[in-house]
Symmetry: C2
Subunit: 209 residues, 2 copies
């Protein structure tokens, strides 16, 4: 086994270090974050840092760097209080990754990258029409982390999904949804159907259902 220390990581060339450390968590969720500015300009940015925080109430978190890219996402969601998460279809990975390019302020990544902005049920942030699963969230709280990043906590207000993705037990068939997983900064993966185990109980090694 190769052993890499904190000192090694710090000594690595910057892009090498970014590639390595961004790969460490394992597979990450692939979401497009949709927002709108007060003047109506829409914004779309790919994020790999969305996570589950709680189910009742339904809370999701994501990490941003407010003083650097993607600043439009942050300023827009601060202004309106709302944002959308839209699963990245693996088939549209190139377009989703393109949202990370440094587009000028007046350009909407929806248009530039070939996605369709859709406003639904009077929610002030745009959804991605091409996503099979989209979520409308309202910003609840922010937590400043010592390295300058911020954990944004949002309350789930709306979920839109293709009917067949919802299993009878409430789980979602993300493989059938074509949702991508991300590794590192630029790897987009298709994912195979799961093995599922149910609730684990002592004395009984879980068996795939």
């Amino acid at each position: 086994m190769r052993h890499i220390t904190a000192a090694d990581i710090q000594a690595f060339e910057k892009v090498y270090r970014l590639n390595l450390v961004n790969s460490l968590p394992g597979f990450k969720p692939a979401n497009l974050v949709g927002t709108a500015a007060p003047d109506g300009t829409t914004n779309l940015a790919v994020f790999s840092s969305v996570l589950h925080l709680g189910s009742d109430p339904a809370l999701l978190g994501m990490i941003t760097r407010p003083t650097t890219v993607p600043r439009h996402t942050y300023s827009n969601l601060k202004a309106s209080g709302c944002y959308t998460l839209n699963h990245v279809p693996e088939a549209l990975a190139a377009q989703a990754h393109y949202t990370s390019a440094n587009f000028p302020d007046e350009i909407s990544e929806f248009d530039a990258c070939g996605f369709t902005a859709e406003f639904r049920d009077n929610f002030p942030a745009p959804y991605v029409a091409e996503s099979t699963l989209s979520i409308g969230l309202r910003l609840l709280e922010e937590h400043a982390i010592s390295n300058g990043t911020v954990l944004l906590v949002g309350t789930v207000e709306h979920v839109y999904l293709r009917d067949d993705l919802l299993r009878p037990d409430g789980t979602l068939d993300l493989a059938a949804a074509g949702t991508a997983a991300i590794s590192g900064l630029d790897g987009y993966h298709a994912v195979l159907p799961p093995v599922r185990f149910g609730y684990a109980r002592v004395g009984q090694l879980p068996v795939a259902e």
Copy 2:
């Protein structure tokens, strides 16, 4: 498209709600968190909430509920200041999921679930010998979230990985590593090799490398 509102989510039966909301982020990383109690008892617990926070210094976060399960992970890492993250091999998903069963205090999930605890380089938390990629972290800070969960931020001190997983550019070949992705509470997925796009630039739709 099916539309589910916050009111619908709150009205759902509890397990249905847990299944749905835990599926919303998309594919999640699968890690086993290894810790040791002051008396030497080891603990192992599967987490799907690990995320990247920064590369310089290398910081990773994870979410825990300190007053509920898995309390051993939290009390152990508070006592020693250290914990390990170990990628779940998709082939050992059943054993990894079994760590979520409610084992008595004196039982180590390493033994009960068939994993090998390995102490390396005088680090006070045990690694999982069966993982192709393991990380040793030191707790840096905690952020209390309003729903009772806590974001634990850790500094990466050690990385151990199978030599062939490290690509020349610093990215990791997580598909070759056999690392699993998680959906919902109990779905474990094998993941296909990525398409990779490199750094995105305006005026150039990313092309798979």
